[in-house]
Symmetry: C2
Subunit: 425 residues, 2 copies
Amino acid sequence: MNKVKIGLMGLGNIGRGVWKIFEFNKLDIEKSTGYSFEISKVLVKDLKKQRELDIPVHLLTTDPLDILNDKDIEIVVELIGGIEPAKDYILKAIRNKKHVVTANKAVIASHGNELIEAAIQEKVYLQFEGSVAGGIPILDSIKDSLTANKIDEIMGIVNGTTNYILSKMTNESTDFFSALKEAQGKGYAEADPTSDVEGYDASYKLSILSSLAFGTQLPVSAIYREGITKITPIDIEYARELGYVIKLLAIGKQKKDCVELRVHPTLIPVSHPLATIQDAFNGIFIRGNAVGDLMYYGKGAGDLPTGSAVVGNIISIIKKKQCSYIPDFKVNNAIEIQSMDSTICEYYVRIMVKDIPGVLGRIATEFGKGNVSLSSVIQKGEGEPQVSLVFVTHLTNELNVQNSLMEILKINEVIEIANVIRVEK
Amino acid sequence: MNKVKIGLMGLGNIGRGVWKIFEFNKLDIEKSTGYSFEISKVLVKDLKKQRELDIPVHLLTTDPLDILNDKDIEIVVELIGGIEPAKDYILKAIRNKKHVVTANKAVIASHGNELIEAAIQEKVYLQFEGSVAGGIPILDSIKDSLTANKIDEIMGIVNGTTNYILSKMTNESTDFFSALKEAQGKGYAEADPTSDVEGYDASYKLSILSSLAFGTQLPVSAIYREGITKITPIDIEYARELGYVIKLLAIGKQKKDCVELRVHPTLIPVSHPLATIQDAFNGIFIRGNAVGDLMYYGKGAGDLPTGSAVVGNIISIIKKKQCSYIPDFKVNNAIEIQSMDSTICEYYVRIMVKDIPGVLGRIATEFGKGNVSLSSVIQKGEGEPQVSLVFVTHLTNELNVQNSLMEILKINEVIEIANVIRVEK
C-alpha cells in the first residue's frame, strides 16, 4: 500500500481531531483510498506539555522547518490559525512543492488569492473546506457538485457562538449579556468575544464562501458588517409577533453587474429553513439557478467535525495528485461590490417615542416623504410615558431608510431610533 | 476550446431540464470548465411531437444506436427511466467506451453493481447523483467529502409525494385520500400512486444511498418496506400530542456486523431537523463518526433540480477523464442485512378497545409479559363505546412487539390494532 506522509502544524482542538480521525478510522480510510496515511511530524509550541493524546514524543517538534523542509512530507496541514506565521508557513510549503490543507479562515479570507496563485504556479493543491462551517462540505459542493448552476444567493448561519446566544435569547427571553455569559461558560464563546459577536468571524467566512460561489476574490474589508450586541429581547419578541426570528446572517447575492455582501442580524420568517437552525449549529442556504433552494445543516466547529473536513481534503488531494495537475480554483478578475447605500431590503425599525397623539402619523409621513413604504406597524404600551413603535417596510433602498430616520429623529416626540434590523425572506 | 459531445436519451422532464441548463448557463459552464458542451443527438419516442423547446429537428432520433454507436459522443445521458431498455442502453454505451450519466433510480438500485463492474472493466465513469433526492448532492458528499467518516446512519425524506401528502394531513387535518387527490391535482402524485405511497420509490433510493454509505450493494428486495396509506389524521394528532410528527423515512444504520435497512412511516420529535422538511421537499440526515449530524435539504425532483445533478455529473466526468482512470465506486463484498424481527426501536401502538374498566391493565400486562416496556399511555374518549388507547414503548425488539400484539388481540375487549408506527429520535 502506498504511504503518504503528513506534517501537522498545530495541535490545538482541530489538530487533535485530525489525529484522532486517522487513528479511529484508519482501516476504513485505507480500504476506501488504497493509501496509508502517516502523520510523521507535528509542530507544537511546547514539547513538554501534558497531552491527552498518545503521540510519540519523537514526532513532536517546535521548528516549523522540520516539516516545511522534510522531503518525505507530501501534505502540510496548517492548523495554527491567525495570519502570521500561518501565511508564511503555507507559502513555504507551497514553494517546497507540498500540498496544503488548512482550516484557517483568517488567512484564506485575507490572502486566498495570493496563496492560490502560488499553488497554481507550483502545481500543488491548496484546500480549505474546514475554514467555513466546520464539517459541512459546502465549499466542495459549490466547487464540484453545483457546477451546473449560476449561484444567485447564499445566506448562512456560519457562526455558532452568535447562533447559540440568539437561540438562548429567543427561547428563554434572556438578554444579550446573560446569554453571552452562558455561552462563555459552555466554551462556545471566548473570553474576548469580539470576533464572534461583532460579526468579524462571519465576514471572513462570507468572504471565502462568496469568493467561491461568485468566482472571484472578495476582500473581507469590503463586507458590510454589524454584530448582535444591539439585539434586545424586546426586538426578538416583536419579531416573533410579526412571524420572524432574528439570526446573524452572512449574505451574498449575485446582482447584475456586482455582488451584494453583508453580515448583520436579520429577521427571517419562522418558516424559512434557516429559522430552524438552533444553538451552536450552522446552516447554509444556497440558491442556484438550476438546483433551486438547498440548505446544509451541521456542526460548524469542534475537533472532529472540522477534522472531518480537513481529512476529507487530504484524501481528495491524494486522489487528485494521481492526475495531471488541474487547478482547484480559478483566480478571476474582480467583481464590484455593491455599496451598502444601494442595498434593497425590507427593514424592521423600532422607535421610542413619547406617547402623544399624532406621533405615529408624523413618523409615517416622514417615511412616505423619504419614499419608504410601510407594510406593518405595531404600537404598544398605550398610556405609558415612552412607547415603542415598530415599523416593517416594503422593499426599499438602504439610503432612503437612513435618510428618513435622520428626519424622523428631528421630530420632537421621538426619543430614539432603538433598532434597525434588515429583513430577508 | 475543447468540445464534448453528449448523447441525450430521453426528452422527458429531466431531459428537458438538462437541455435548458446547457442553454441558460452555457457561458458560465464554459468559463469554469474550459470545455464547450454540445448535445449532439437526442433519443425521442416520436419525432413529430410538438415540443416547448427549440431543439433542431436534425438532432432528434428514434434509433438508440444513433447515439450508442456514434464515435464522436463521449458521454451518454440516460433519462428514459425504468429498467429495460435503459439497462441495455447503459451497458452498450459502457461497452462502447462511453461515460454514462443517469438519474434512473430503478436501474441503479437493481443492477448498480453489474453496471459499475462493467464501467470499471471499460475504464469509463458511471455517475447517478440525480437518482436520489434530485439536485441535493448527497451521493457526491458521501463519495468525496465525507470520506474521513465511517457513516453510522442515514435517515431520509427522499420521496416528495408522500412528504407532500403527510404535510397536508398534518397542517390541514385532511385524510390520506383527500391529500392524495390534491397531490395528484398539483402533479406531485401520479394517477397510479403505488410506487410513491407504498414506499417502493423510497426503497430504491435507500438502496442506492446505503450501498454508497456502507460500501456494498444492498438489494432493494431486502429492504423492509411499508407505505403511508394506513396513516390517519387520528395518528397524526396523537403524535403531535406526544411531541412528534409523522414522516415517511428511509433509514439505513450500520450495526456491528450488519446493516439495518427500512422504509416506513416514522414518528420523529418535532425538534428533529427532518421534522421541518415540508411539502414536496426532500431532506437527508446523515451521521458520520467524525462530522456528527449533517442534514441536506432541497428539491428532490423537477426538471432543473435533477438536471443540476445530471449536468454536475457530466462536468465532473470531464474533469476526471483528464486523469488516469480511478474507479468512482468500489464493488465490495456483501454485508448482511439485519432481519426486521431483530430491529430495536421504540413503537407507537394505537389499539381500539371497548371502554370497559380494566382493559388498559390487561393490555399493559400483556406488553409486560412480552418484555415490552412502556414509556407513555394515552386514553381518550371516556364513556364512548369504542375508545383509542395509545401506547409508546421504550426501546424494544420488533419481534417482542409483534408477539405481544398477537396476545393482545386475544383480549376480549380489544377490537383491533389500529396502527403500529416506529419511532426514531
